[in-house]
């Protein structure tokens, strides 16, 4: 086999692999992008009931209620609020007044059903999205 033909083979092989990969990536990205919204953005946009997204903000003080495995609380960006229910064990760092990200969808009753509450390593950590949402609503206070 001449070097030229070998290079042709290599090129064909790589192009096929890359093509398959690109097709997979594009379809997967289309179906699986999870957008991040603050309660204000949720109020502005009308989001379909089955659309999965991430909701971020602060856990409103005094809003957490527990009934067995069901937890109800309110996420706020201090401008708008949204009620959330979650069934399961909350991450260790979940606390009132702290930043939180919940992934799930809005039910027909307008309550956000969270399937996942994101855990954090570090209590000083503020998810960048939450910080941005708070800044946009003019509620950001720099700690330092």
């Amino acid at each position: 086999m001449t070097p030229k033909r070998r290079r042709l083979w290599l090129l064909l092989g790589s192009l096929t692999t890359l093509g398959v990969a690109a097709a997979l990536v594009l379809t997967a990205l289309n179906d699986n992008l999870v957008f991040f919204y603050s309660p204000t953005q949720v109020a502005e946009k009308s989001i379909g009931p089955e659309r999965r997204f991430r909701l971020g903000g602060l856990v409103e003080e005094g809003s957490v209620q527990k009934e067995g495995q069901i937890v109800r609380f309110t996420i706020t960006d201090t401008n708008k609020t949204l009620k959330v229910t979650y069934r399961g064990i909350l991450p260790d760092l979940f606390r009132e007044g702290q930043g939180v990200i919940a992934e799930g969808s809005i039910g027909p009753d307008g309550v956000f059903t969270a399937r996942e509450i994101l855990a954090k390593h570090d209590e000083n950590y503020m998810p960048p999205e939450v910080a941005k949402a708070l800044k946009e609503s003019g509620q950001w206070k720099d700690k330092k």
């Binding site: 070097p3 997979l24 990536v25 997967a28 009934e67 992934e103 855990a119 954090k120 950590y125 503020m126």
Partner: protein, 649 residues
Amino acid sequence: MIPELGHFALILALAVALVQGTLPLIGASRGDLRLMALGRTAALTQAFLVLVSFGALTQAYVTSDFSVLNVVDNSHSAKPLLYKISGVWGNHEGSMLLWALILALFGAAVAIFGNNLPDTLRSRVLAIQALIGVGFLAFLLFTSNPFARVFPAPADGNGLNPLLQDPGLAFHPPLLYLGYVGYSVTYAFAVAALLEGRVDAAWARWVRPWALAAWCFLTLGIALGSWWAYYILGWGGFWFWDPVENASLMPWLAGTALLHSAIVVEKRDALKSWTVLLALLAFSLSLLGTFLVRSGVLTSVHAFAQDPSRGMFILAFLLLVTGGGLALYAWRAPQLQGGGLFQPVSREGALILNNLLLCTLAVTVLLGTLYPLFLDLLTGNKVSVGPPFFNATFVPLCAPLFAALCVGPFLGWKRAELGPALMRLRVALVVSLAAALFAMTMIDSRSTLAALAFGFGVWLIVGSLASLTDRFRSGTLRTIPRSTLGMVISHASLGVVVLGSVATSSWNTELMQTMKPGDRIAFAGYSVVLDRMEEVRGPNYIAERATLNVSVGGKPYTVLQPERRLFTVQRRQVAETAIQTNLLRDFYATLGEGDPKQGWVIRLYLNPLAPWIWLGAALCALGGFVSLSDRRLRIGAPSRRPSSLQPAE
């Protein structure tokens, strides 16, 4: 006094690194032996100085010297000794110091074990190592000084993040860094080769042990991190496709490709410029991983509070290292003439396919990880790309890789036939098809995909071991080269990992229940009773402990005691899972919040084959170490035997 000594040693190390990064380079281009010899002395001196600095910080932690800010922020006098020590790298400054230390130690290792390297190559490699070191030492000294003092010294510290107070996580960063930083050596070798304008079989033979060592440590580091996530996060999962996990997977994929393409350079003198490129990319991806973790630009389960200026520094350094390496590559690589010709169906062809697929996988992970960043920059939309994306892209691309993996070792160099190779694999084919059928009919008829993946796992194990059958029959199993043995172990253990992850993620049983003491529930054929709740005191925490009596068929089977620990210093709760394993499945229990009136939330999982994931990963790394102990690599002699004498396996 001692912290100042550490600080001073760090400054000296930077000065030494500057010398080591410049003079040997000049010496190598002028052919000045004295300047070149300087590289070795400097590398050893630098390693010693960074070691002193690291020792000084460790001393501050062990003795709880609260006049050092870093110790105040991350330690507490009541902490167990192990976590006082692991606290050294359980924070930004300390972990960067650990990085710099490992970098310097790798430099020293090249200086010590590099006796058989040509003078110019060795001095260039050491100089490049030192230039990377300059970047990190400057980063430490100018933005993240671990020795900053605080006055007046507080009476006690703030304690280490409780999630990090865990044996698994104590050793995860050092192992991961040994992997990440190990690729700095292959990077340095690649840049040095480009400067010399020469890549040959001898070069590949020198690079391969370093690539192999880095790969082994990275494998162990990733496995340990995944194990930690499995038992501490309490979701029963082991891999979350989180940006930080992806950050460690990308260099692993590129590094695995490098490991294989270096074989082609060594044995057949082909794929030279590609191998050099991979060596450059593996380290660039390691740096990218560090940047992603350290800058907090991506929302991650693992994200730590970050200072953006530090992120910018690493980003600039990343661009310099990657850009510089690639520019040099673009300039010099065309000079690297490939040697051996080969047919598409051949060992070389199989290794190219391996590289092609591994790199595609790495690119897929890279896209999925960075896409939210791009979209945010371009449109301001915040998105996340989660497990569904990776399951839809990564997993299908693994199928051809696994299919080809067992066939490759049966193909000869230069030119081979597919038929005879498949004939020798017929037993493996039949066994794995039977396994897939068994999974489809007996275990789970709903998920064809899981059954197929199960079949692939069995194929990897049996197909890899099949390459030993001829040797077994002829009784020459003992004479098998260690590198071949290592390959078989690593390939087969990949199958073990696949079986473990498929079984755990597809066929696990899960139950969440609110229980009061005395309550009994049935779970997957077991009977579970919440016997009692009690309070226990640890060295620096108070825990709520549940005692679950598990019985099967009326006979006591095991006792599980999950806890919720409240760390008194930080006022933070951490759940401690209880896992009972018989190596075939994990019985896994976590305790949620609760009180005597309402009861406690208990979550139970039965994870089949879960231990195989980490067992397999450990075996995979073991295979690497076995291969590393091969005599040819240990001696590293650049002997140039004709390739026909090389064993075909």
